[in-house]
Symmetry: C2
Subunit: 258 residues, 2 copies
């Protein structure tokens, strides 16, 4: 199978002009087939605030009422997505911005009440259409995916960008040898949270069990790693957790089955 | 050649919930290959105002400084486009939202100073990629085009939706037997502006010359008709100017070469 790289870039990078330009230049330099998935939460919070709409987060997830759905649809699907697409086009990357509604590439359902919490218009993904994405990719297109899905009944839904990235990688794993890169503000999974030089280069499933048991890995890194191993269990070849300025697949932490 | 219909729908319809639902239902009912082009100017003005950004219009065109470019990118590319795409998906139309930057389907250049007026980030279209659009359409996709282009150097540009529609129709005329429908708030080209029942059913180029000379047609209708005859000169088979609730190709005014 051909190799394919899915890169997820978070809001903090997307919203910093210098970091974004570096990221897009590094992404353009990745050889072969690829997909970019972006966040944009900070910008959404900022625009919402300017519009007098309060952002409410529960467990790190945005409560998305009708007004906030309008904001994230504008900011993720329009402002952030199209600026990335235009910039990639300028570097010769034939980018196509997509939400889950476009060509129905990612269908979702509205999240049911969880522990009594109504997250509003938040989508849990049912399925990504790997065949449709692969057809585009084989035509030389580079999908740029916003963290938005739809319910098939006419509503857009707000969906976590890490989830968009892992669902995309999983769907494409039937067609390609997929590496999924989660880029963020740290150099990788750290064995000592305050020491940027303590990056763990490789984590297998057995390592992960051990690190969880002895407390080496904890907090916000746990969902990220669970997500990574889920992707691997679904056929993704490797998951790389790395700094946004080091997405060449040779830095940070590599997550592998064994 | 196969038939294809390009429907342009203006902001007033897009932003009225009931009219939009009717329009999308009518659009879904159009048989065969099709493209939807939408505006959204009133919503952009509204969001800009909420963000404390003043809208300045000259000759009916929006002066687009950096802040306003952000607003139209959000509103046209995100809010309006994705809501239309999600709703069309709900009716079984496999819609794909596009700006000119996406897959480089519509390249433009920033408008030079005109009569000393700097329109800002406004794009005059260089070329639409009819081949790329035709490939999508043959795969069963229905493009939904926002009034945004790009300059190939990383910038989005604001472009009039009528222009997007006619450039799309012209580019597709090499591949299809194209009918271009401009839907708006009147029943067609009227011989007496205040009489909705005075629709002129067919206007040929010779008729148009006569109507211009005798003043039957004047004002804002002139650029629309110039635009229509341009499209026809470039190979578009017919242009229909009609009410937004009557886009079946059997109402309003039909513009034909002869």
């Amino acid at each position: 199978m051909e190799k394919l790289t899915v890169v997820k870039v978070g809001g903090a990078v997307v919203e910093d002009e210098a970091q974004l330009m570096q990221l897009l230049s590094d992404f353009a330099a990745i050889e072969g087939r690829k997909v970019l998935v972006h966040g944009g939460g900070r910008r959404a919070t900022q625009v919402a605030s300017q519009l007098g709409i309060e952002s409410r987060m529960v467990n790190g997830r945005r409560i998305t009422d009708g007004a906030m759905l309008g904001v994230v649809t504008m900011v993720y699907g329009g402002l952030v997505n199209k600026n990335i697409v235009a910039r990639l086009q300028a570097t010769g990357v034939n980018a196509l911005g997509l939400t889950g509604a476009d060509m129905n590439v990612m269908h979702a359902h509205r999240r049911p009440l969880k522990d009594g919490i109504d997250y509003g218009f938040v989508g849990d993904v049912d399925e990504a259409d790997g065949q449709r994405l692969a057809t585009l990719i084989e035509a030389g297109i580079v999908p740029v995916m916003a963290p938005l899905t739809h319910d098939g009944q006419g509503h857009m839904l707000n969906t976590n960008a890490d989830t968009i990235a892992s669902e995309t990688a999983k769907a494409l794993a039937r067609h390609y040898d997929v590496t999924l890169i989660f880029s963020f503000e740290k150099r990788g999974v750290l064995s000592r949270p305050d020491d940027d030089n303590s990056v763990i280069p490789v984590i297998t499933r057995a390592d992960y069990a051990r690190y969880k048991a002895d407390g080496t890995v904890s907090g916000g890194m746990l969902p990220k790693l669970d997500n990574a191993f889920d992707a691997i269990a679904a056929g993704v070849k490797a998951v790389n957790i790395t700094l946004a300025t080091a997405i060449d697949g040779h830095h940070g932490t590599m997550i592998v089955e064994a």
